[in-house]
Symmetry: C2
Subunit: 261 residues, 2 copies
């Protein structure tokens, strides 16, 4: 159900990486369990464990230090950093366009796109989803005015995605002709907006994205470029969307009609 | 006045990079001028122009494409990506600990810290500053409830910075014994909270950071590690803080007392 986790899973599958996926169920409190917090004290997903990471690193954290002498098990949070690490860790397998190694200008552009995603697409979409859907499910306070501010942030981000990053349609993906890590991360984030239909009639991914046809076209290109792994990773989300009753009741289209990729 | 711009300036100065600084005055609308938008259609600072970037990159954007045949002038937004690019561009000058190149595990940890900063420290602090200070100055709508939500985000981030990234005080900087790009970026972001005193009595960087003594100690370590460039880059902010009348009027300490680094 986690959008950045799906992204890392798809990235790993598309590039054929030997990554084993272990689901952590947020809604069952598993990100807050003592066992998980011992691995990732930030209490967030995804987390990459590399049990055979280079033991020579002079860095540490976050989280508890390894045994004296330095552990060779890396525990890395943050989806974007995980993808960059996997690209460096499996240089023979991760295609350059996903996260460039040799072309430093391209790498910088991918990283700019990733950071821009964090402060714009993610800042808007995740905050909107939290205050419209997640908070209510977790029984924590939510605020409609914060949700409205997040929607505004998201709409500005979608306009910039369409007009600037995609060059109004002149650029197929955010940094060139082939998809990169930022395309995938942004795309997975936007799919999560499907859950909004359970919170408010007339608010849905389709409704929010409709004014941005180049974003819709790009979204389909990302799905196509990562098939069949994209659909596989979104199966749980789509099932949840299909199960959730649409808010308001006046909506004609059922879950099934809305949950196709 | 821009916190990520200050960060890039300090990063460049500390590492002795041949970076020429050109101020863009946000409050005079310069980030929205046609001339600036032609360089960076995102309308944000900082922007790095590298007029001698490798011309062989297969990537493009954001922004207008160069002349046919490919331009060798790179225009790169996003402070974190700029620092990563500068580290790759000037490998003989940027110290490894600031943005590692050889140690891929350390590089991944620095990038995790940078992305975490975006979604937590930045998401809280910049949103708070915007709704408390910036929006009022620009004459655009602000919302106290959005500011309250941002303050909560920031407080959770400061707790995680202290307890997880700094290991409750066991770790000197976010990824080890020496400062990295994320330490500097987060530190510059937090300084901006000084402007809050003009918006609301009792709300200030000192007040917000007081419950997190390990964050305060780390902040001082970052300043010390980057002296005298840190203070030089913050001169404009501190002058603005000193000039802005404290809100409420009941506050005893004047601007001068509060604007020491």
């Amino acid at each position: 159900m986690s959008q950045p986790s799906r992204c890392v899973v798809i990235f790993s599958r598309v590039n054929g990486l030997p990554v084993e996926v272990r689901p952590i169920l947020i809604h069952k409190g598993e990100t807050r369990s003592p066992a998980y917090l011992a691995l990732n004290p930030l209490g967030k997903v995804p987390l990459l464990e590399d049990t055979a990471a280079a033991a020579s690193s002079s860095s540490s954290g976050p989280g508890p230090a390894g045994p004296a002498g330095g552990s060779s098990c890396l525990r890395l949070p943050e989806s974007a950093a995980i993808m960059g690490y996997l690209a460096d860790r499996f240089p023979g397998q991760v295609a350059e366009h996903w996260y460039p190694r040799a072309d430093k200008v391209h790498r910088a552009r991918v990283e700019a796109a990733l950071h821009w995603y964090q402060g714009n697409i993610r800042a808007g979409a995740a905050k909107l989803s939290f205050h419209k859907v997640v908070a209510k499910r977790l029984g924590v306070p939510s605020d409609e005015r914060v949700a409205a501010d997040a929607l505004k942030t998201l709409q500005l981000a979608l306009a910039a995605l369409q007009d600037v990053w995609l060059g109004g349609g002149a650029r197929r993906f955010m940094t060139g002709d082939r998809p990169c890590a930022a395309d995938l991360l942004a795309c997975c984030e936007l799919e999560q907006l499907r859950m909004l239909r359970a919170a408010e009639h007339g608010l849905d991914m389709e409704v929010i994205l409709a004014p941005y046809p180049q974003v819709l076209a790009w979204q389909q290109r990302v799905r196509d470029a990562t098939a069949p792994h994209y659909a596989a990773a979104h199966r749980v989300l789509l099932a949840a969307v299909a199960k959730a009753p649409p808010a308001g009741g006046a909506g004609g289209g059922g879950g099934a009609a809305q949950s196709k990729l």
